[in-house]
């Protein structure tokens, strides 16, 4: 996580902080189709803000409205205190790194980076210096004279980043910037991005399909669904305290047990199967007594044992599958009513030494603070 994040960077909790971007009741329609549905959102200076959601939920549309490529149907977008209505893309202190990179094929790497500078009020004599600085930042000095088709995919992506950063925008929009990279290069680039963000102090808004990426780089994450913001929160809170089953299910792996809420207090009990002991978990948002609800718990918070353990919640079941992931194993356990619950444990012993195998009767257990009861 960004170091300023760790050191208590949390302007969204400060009522006096001025946001860089604010969406007020923003709706975007394409004909009769609503792509963005009445969104309110504030993004603060120096944030690394990630948009996460399934394909077609409106992430790109949201970005394009910030960049000035789509009009807003209803509501207002304010950037740095200025209402953006009617302001074209070329008049905004916002730069976008396109998903396809959109490098100019007829220009060299250096000329691509200089493209925006030549059209700004920067004096000619300073442009070369700035281009060199950008090339150094993305470590492409050696490739300055190449054309985009003469460099690798990862290098192209860095040129696109350098080009978008060259004008030192207040806001940088990144639409799935790392989509085309292999895992290792992607991780390196993620750290590079965070490094650059810290060095330049630019506010980043990033779209990604990869939740691990969002968790790694973002100060806050917005989870979107069908043009709506389901939750906007820090990565740990989105993971630990999702406000809906949708978010819990979307981020990471989760077990979901459906039932009915009872004894709603700081903790809530979930009545989930005829004759079974109710499950106790933390009370999530909008849970009401007697209403349908779901209990959600992450697999790594569920312990698995052959003998009956001492725990607030415990159920018995049969191992039906074991997924070996190298450093971890996930056990798929079928409860008597057919519900499958996953339990994940670290493999700190060699396989041969582990005692749980297929078809074993096991006990699953977890504490009463490990899971959440959420309204469906």
């Amino acid at each position: 996580m960004p170091s300023d994040h760790a050191s208590g960077f949390a302007p969204w909790e400060d009522a006096d902080a001025t946001p860089l971007i604010s969406f007020d009741g923003v709706t975007k329609r394409f004909g009769a189709f609503t792509a963005i549905d009445n969104i309110d959102l504030k993004i603060y200076p120096r944030e690394f803000f990630a948009l996460l959601g399934p394909s077609g939920c409106g992430k790109t549309t949201l970005m394009r409205m910030l960049g000035g490529f789509e009009d807003v149907t209803e509501g207002t977008i304010t950037i740095d205190g200025q209402n953006m209505a009617g302001i074209p893309a070329n008049k905004r202190a916002v730069n976008m790194m396109f998903q396809s990179y959109a490098l100019f094929p007829h220009l060299s790497v250096a000329d691509n980076i200089a493209f925006g500078l030549k059209r700004s009020d920067m004096p000619k004599s300073e442009i070369q210096g700035r281009v060199d600085e950008m090339l150094r930042l993305v470590q492409l000095q050696k490739f300055a004279k190449r054309k985009p088709h003469q460099i690798s995919g990862g290098q192209r992506q860095r040129v696109a980043l350098a080009r978008a950063l060259a004008k030192a925008p207040k806001l940088l929009l990144l639409d799935e910037p790392l989509g085309a990279l292999d895992k290792k290069l992607r991780q390196e680039t993620q750290f590079e991005l965070m490094d650059i963000q810290e060095k330049t102090g630019t506010t980043f808004v990033i779209v990604t399909h990869d939740q691990e990426e969002a968790m790694t780089v973002a100060s806050r994450i917005a989870v979107m669904d069908n043009g709506l913001l389901k939750q906007v929160d820090t990565p740990d809170r989105v993971y630990e305290t999702p406000n809906s089953v949708y978010v819990a299910d979307f981020i990471g792996d989760v077990n979901i047990i459906t039932g009915r809420a009872a004894e709603v207090g700081e903790k809530t009990q979930l009545i989930w199967a005829e004759g079974a002991t109710p499950i106790t978990g933390m009370t999530g948002s909008r849970v009401a007594q007697g209403e349908p609800a779901s209990f959600v718990i992450r697999p790594e918070k569920v312990s698995i044992n052959k003998t009956e353990p001492e725990a607030a919640n415990k159920v018995q079941g049969k191992v039906i599958d074991i997924a070996y992931l190298g450093n971890m194993s996930t056990y798929h356990v079928a409860l008597p009513d057919g519900t499958i619950v996953k339990s994940q444990t670290a493999n700190n012993r060699r396989i041969a030494r582990r005692d749980i195998t297929w078809e074993d009767q096991v006990w699953l257990s977890w504490t009463d603070t490990a899971g959440l009861v959420l309204r469906d």
Binding site: G68, F69, A102, L103, H106, G116, H149
Partner: protein, 295 residues
Amino acid sequence: MRRLLISIPYLWLLILFLVPFGIVLKIALSDVALSIPPYTPQLDLSEGWTGFRAFWAELDLENFWFLTEDDLYWKAYLSSLKIALIATFLTLLVGFPIAYGMANAPDHWRPTLMLLIILPFWTSFLIRVYAWIGILSNEGFLNQFLIWTGIIAEPAKILNTDIAVYIGIVYTYLPFMVLPIYATLEKLDGTLLEAAEDLGCTRIQAFWSVTAPLSKPGIIAGCFLVFIPALGEFVIPSLLGGSDTLMIGKVLWEEFFSNRDWPVASAVAVILLLILVVPIILFQRNEQKQREAEQ
């Protein structure tokens, strides 16, 4: 098998280009004669080797020297070059906006627009040029229209001037300009223009710094496709042009059919071909470069 495949294009080239060219060159080196065909010497293979020797001895470059002596010819070449260049430029001016409009039209309109561009090819070229006589003559539609609107009081002489020739060439060769430009513009990635705007360009600046350079291969291809046939054009200048419109195609025709001087006409054709070889090679280079850039 593979050799056979490779040899097909060469065979093609040999039969359709090199052999006819050889015949024309041979006629160009002969002398005019009152015979059928109207030149001498004729190759008589019945006399064997000595016949060939005699034939060979009679070929000379006389006709080429003649072309340099009479200034009609080099003036006609120069005038053709000038007319072809200007006409190509005018075709570009008319063709680019059409191609641009087509490339930016909604998807479902494009096939129709494409059809409209190709449609004129469905009727005879000659008929279309004759139709222009009806439009451009003193009593033609254009003059009638201009007088009706009050822009001019007297019919303007358009037919039988260079202007009519330009109109004819632009009209005839427009599809050759529009189609290659359209092909490059259609391939152009729209996000490049968005990127240019994002980096501070106005729409017009984005056009000049992105669209224009990226459509260059199409523009070059279109210009060659118009320039090369326009240079040797014969029908348009003879039907629409005036008596003082000098084009090498017309001279060539007159030498062949009015003067029946096949050897001089052939010499004119050979020189025309040599002049055309330069732009054709340049055109091929452009195509090659484009193909390489696409890989």
